[in-house]
Symmetry: D3
Subunit: 338 residues, 6 copies
């Protein structure tokens, strides 16, 4: 058994224009002061990391690592959530996702997709230079508008969509393999990889690629009422990254899982600060210990109610409290009392 | 209190090319032999009813009514589910829904929409001629691909969609009002009116139109984990039609509410024959009695496992057994024992 | 083990001014035609039984027994619910209960109480003449307005009330003992004996009188959220009568156990026809078999929704279906398979 | 959204004859030292506040406010629970409640009622002088002995009782309105206003008076098994005061909601120190934030087991931990990660 | 999908010395009259089948089959539960199991084991001659006294026990393979194969032998609180036989799963007649349909309370009611209504 | 009411060969530094206590007490779990338990049993000299292999086993009585006293011996799904010792209560560090207060995942937090608020 690493923090929801949220240096000091030991860094904002440079320059990477080390921090993973999303976009969402892309490819879906694939490959190289073994991203989606079988889906539609998805991701997975880095897809509504069944469909089409792995975030399973504990029992061998994020789902006579087009605060399913939701982290961390999870416990924070800085400051001790320092002697050895 | 009418049967899922499922006469005999007392009739197949003729000819209507009366049957409602769907179609589903339209308007969304609206108005007139007080339909949808807030919805998008939806339906509602018929929207995933919250948004935009009502089908609430009993507590005054349809939702570690693009039999949420699912019909019929529901209990059958004719033959006694013949003396009168 | 007797029916809620509910003969025919085997007969209406006569005349009793025997019916118990109630009345309820008494003692609480005690003693004698071994009644109440400890109860108030209650009932219990009949108090809200704790307090004060027993009616336990199955585990040796009556308790955000002064149909706790409520009769009849209950399973019907005659006609087969014909060979004898 | 104020403490259960519980000064120091920021002050003990003086003298009020401000304390509300109780007393409780009244009106119900009404009006004036916007009280009760429909209630009895209750309270409500103060009725067993249904009956009879509001105390809902979370969904707009009090309800085979006349420690429903009971305060404080509750979170402490000073010392950090500092940026703004 | 065969009945618990329970002819008439279509026949009583003869004589087998066919009956499986048990016996149970053996090998464990193995092989041959494809048995047990890790088990003890168990069963499995018959081990407490984990340990040691299969009996899973539905999700491909047997587990403060050495009627876990226990047969039969179970639904009856003949007579309609005649058209074909 | 003593710690699972776990002095310092106030000391290791000496020498005992007192520690109880186990051993476990005995009696069951009985008597004397009032042990077992009624138990087998068990323990109980010490049997799987039913069987056979008492450890009840809270309601008068030990039971489709011969970490039922399992200690400590438990709350630690020293360091504050300082004034006195 292995003791899970942490607490880490995903920076995406904290980045902003005001100090200390506007530079890697400042945000790292802030995170460290709250008790975090690791940062998960988005790669679409050069104030935090310049992805192209990091992919090519070992010196640049060493400098970042050194600076963070001095603050008692590691990098947990880089994130290309937004770029990964753009690897596969259904036209219904073309406009809405366009802002994620570099300005020069906006409005041109094909160029955007090509750009996104390149970004992912850069991320593989940068991760290697930074000594990382896992990377966080989204799969994007080609079939999401058809998740519900009304209207009835034409035969073969889903199969074709997944064939195409696999075609796009396989070269990326190979690049990650060459760089010795696991690609962790965050299983997430809106992505084609949104549960175990879809992950299996994808895995079959990339021939069980050893780098096709999972970023496990239980909050997204609460919101779709998937059994997030049984998920670990089934897929633990593929789980390489972990978002510690809380959520609650409290349906009423007014609305249920689809949320009635309401805003986050009024939806039955909504994200919450750690400890304020329904996720049973005690059991999750127990399974992580039992299954020898090799990575980091990284806070992802979104909360419909609580102030983000409060959420961040409660998050580090919450995670620390849940980490199980594993035992090093066989349990049966000392089962000699009552 | 009022004793609910029934059992009725919705014909849509039984219609086919073989006898007795290929003509009104034959299917009526079959339904009657199973114990049904009412038929809910789809209006897109002239073998069962010719909508245009029924809208104009009292004789035609009287003939149908007489024929059914001789078999011990009433009409519960006409249905324009498929036509209603076409009143509002998001482009992502254009192709998939096109087959619902009359051949002459296929492939031309604007003409199709105009045709659909006319169909609805014909249905209002036909319903009046048939002596009916309620009519079953779907609202269609303009915003469904955006039910989940990822990608983030542009401000005002939902509001605009509902404004437009109301613009399209208001003249239809007025026509129904002129004909003295309630329009019952089946609250259903994939439709903009898919829960209580969206029904309220719509109602606000049609100024609480007295003909904007609800077809209550608990199976769709089970599949979205909405509290279908509390729904009746809140919206009972607007419920004018009722589909008695069963369903179950049994998520696992593999998949949840979105179903992982699986086929019906492998989805955690799936429809079942009456009594084989999780719907608590005892409580539903109790609330129907308590709230004085004025309409029919109409079987809608879809089941991922059981043979449809078995489902139909079990449905009539199931519904009959659940109908509560209400008491006609005040309960407190005789509360004199133990 | 013993097979429970039944189905029986308590006549109180059916008695009325129209045939067949206005004479013993007619109501017995009606009950027998529905499948009932036993009648529990209230004693305050001479159209059904004349209590004073029955107490004195063996001939009168034999005639009734013979008449019922010809219809395939037995008497399960006589009931003095209304008279028992008048043995102990708190002044706050003086007016409300007064109508239960014989006209000549109304308005005079002391005379009324004396009359009630005499009625009970007559019932003991009549029961003996009718060959009965159990009798159904209420304890009445002296302290009910003070069940909730607000306002705070003066020290000793409850103890004094129970001392007095025991003083009034002990001579009645002795009379029942002389006649060889068990007195079954229906445990019921509004009575001082409304749960196990109060029954124990009473039992202590009548020195564990062997004739102080229980009429078990689970519906009253559902409405007070008492564990009606555990009740049988604790008190089964004292349970001599059994009302098969169903109920449900479904609190909301509007009201709970006290019911907000609403009418029965609108209270969260309300009685229901057999099978329409929440009582787990499967487990109750199992425990009755396991604990060798010696008496009858007697329908008591009150339902906030369903027509009483429907309730009665469903009740007999419901009870028959739940009666467990017990095994006559030791289970372990044939545990030889898989 | 608004961050709820607190922690406050209701002094009633702590007042005593020994220091520091015998003067406002001393008890304020004690409360402040435990971390409380606000005091809810009963008005029947001049050692803490002299109600008549406070109603008339701004100087007296300012002096109190200043003294508390120096200790870092505010007044949350004044309380007239005991006087409000005496506005409406059913004769069955006349003796038991009499001790709440001023000595000069004891034993004379009419005079007592008049005195109570005057007390309430003084409280309105005093509250205004103290800069308060809400006031805590009880409604009293005229019909409580008849909450259970056995014996059957005469037609109109409840309606008359509520008409009379409204007649008594309307002038008080008007006085509160003149003083710009909300009157918060604690919804409580034993009061006519003991749940949502009764509150609505009252509200209808005072024409939806804007000053007729609610003191929300979930412990009383646990004990009557009312859904205290749904209560907030329905009545949040009327909730102006909040008692943070815990409770548990654990029925057995011996006793249920009525408690079998047992003492508090032996009742299935009993109050507990914060965190020791069943109330889900996480959800309550979330709803308070979501619904923009404008007032204070005030500890009310009663516990069948724990020492009161232990309860008080645990209460302040418990409440502080549950207060949600609300977010000040729109959630959707930063939903850009995983 | 396939419609499950049934209802069948396992004869073991009904065989006795009185007619009609003392000959195959008579018991077959009795079973057929109750509505059964298949018999599962124990092989240790020549009044029902002579195993040695059946193994060798096709004429004998044809005669039995013909006789049963005339009564409308099939054989579902033969059973060697008792002989299979004797393939592996831990010395602690030597005496208790000895009576299962033929008289000539009693008291001699080695000879008894040899005899048992021969019996199994005869059963394989007899099954082939009878045209059967599955056979029901027990695995026996070598390690059962050590299921609880107190006292601590010596390292390797369990592994050795399973190695030995596999050594004994492999030749039997091969014989079954030669005869084209699946060997269904009933997963059962007291056997080494008592849950999924132990079945997997065994399967690994017989190299995933295709004839090593499962007799699924949910009652034994209820009593060990194993998730009997998830069991089907995992092991359905190996389930070849099915006992429809009900059970309940209702622990108390007195005793739990081990049952305190009580008799069956007083144990928290006990078998019940169909419908009287806690098994959710609706879900089981749904999974059987979904997973294309190829065999029979066979009543096994043991009940701590109910008379066996009552149990048998209720069993056939219970099973018939649960069998799902599967649909023969694709569900998505007609998903065209509401 | 009484405030429970604690936190204490049972040393058995911590004793080892490295400091500070290898001497009483060192381990006492360690325990004290973590916040423990009491030690439960096993008696089979003279490095911690020499049982024979302690039984005879008051000086030796006073020295130990003094040394511990200086560290702020008390002894809670001595433990003879291992010796008690040897008072009754079924032959199936002879080898496995043999290592618990003194070397000179190993391999000789009769001598071993005699030795064990002597050890218990020494423990009685030593406890008296140490001023203790309770002592912790195991009952041993004669019938455990037969807890499940398969194979069927011969009539009278269990009764004989318990008769013999009582014969062996009665003289020990008498010795404890002479020394004024309660003997607390830990109710534990594998022991004949493994639940309430078996404890009652034993108690009946030692004539309700006043020294035959219970060591209550809820973890063992979780693992057998016995209601550990109801256990206290029934047996509280006999509970004299208390192990605060946590556990969880999470069955799956693979395995249930018997655990499939798996190792601790893979069993559905497994022990956990305090707070990591399912035991509701809040309710347990409440009942301990309510029932006036006279003893200590003693941590027993075993955890399949967490490091033991982490478990010990979390245990003391966990217990301290759960101890309820009981109130010293009657609750009803101050029930005067809201």
């Amino acid at each position: 058994m292995r003791t899970i690493k942490g607490p880490g923090i995903f920076l995406a929801q904290f980045i902003g224009d005001d100090a200390p949220f506007n530079s890697l240096d400042a945000i790292a000091d802030w995170a460290s002061s709250l008790g975090y030991k690791g940062l998960q860094i988005p790669t679409n904002d050069p104030r935090f990391i310049d992805l192209a440079t990091a992919a090519q320059s070992q010196g640049y990477c060493d400098e970042i690592l050194g600076k963070l080390r001095d603050k008692g921090l590691s990098i947990t993973e880089l994130s290309t959530h937004l770029q990964g999303q753009l690897v596969a976009v259904h036209p219904a969402y073309d406009t809405l996702f366009d802002g994620f892309a570099a300005p020069e490819v906006r409005g041109r879906p094909d160029a955007r997709q090509e750009w996104a694939i390149k970004q992912l490959k850069l991320a593989a190289q940068a991760s290697r230079r930074l000594g990382l073994t896992a990377h966080a991203t989204f799969s994007g989606s080609l079939a999401w508008p058809y998740f519900y079988p009304w209207p009835q889906r034409p035969a073969g539609m889903i199969e074709e969509a997944f064939d195409e998805l696999a075609r796009r991701w396989r070269p990326i997975l190979d690049t990650f393999d060459e760089n010795g880095v696991d690609l962790s897809f965050e299983i997430h509504p809106g992505e084609d990889l949104h549960d175990g069944a879809t992950f299996e469909m994808f895995l079959d089409r990339v021939d069980q690629h050893p780098r096709a792995n999972i970023l496990y975030d239980p909050s997204h399973f609460v919101l779709q009422q998937l059994d997030y504990l049984a998920f670990l029992d089934i897929y633990h061998a593929r789980v390489k990254s972990f978002h510690v994020k809380d959520a609650e789902f409290r349906p009423s006579g007014r609305t249920g899982v689809y949320g009635g087009y309401q805003s986050w605060v009024d939806r039955p399913g909504r994200f919450r600060s750690l400890g304020d939701g329904q996720v049973d982290f005690g059991q999750i961390f127990s399974k992580m210990a039992q299954y020898d999870f090799p990575g980091w416990a990284v806070l992802e924070w979104e909360c419909a109610l609580k102030h983000p800085e409060q959420g961040a400051s409660e998050g580090a001790p919450f995670i620390a409290r849940h980490i199980i320092p594993v035992t090093n002697r066989a349990f049966d050895d000392f089962a000699k009392g009552g």
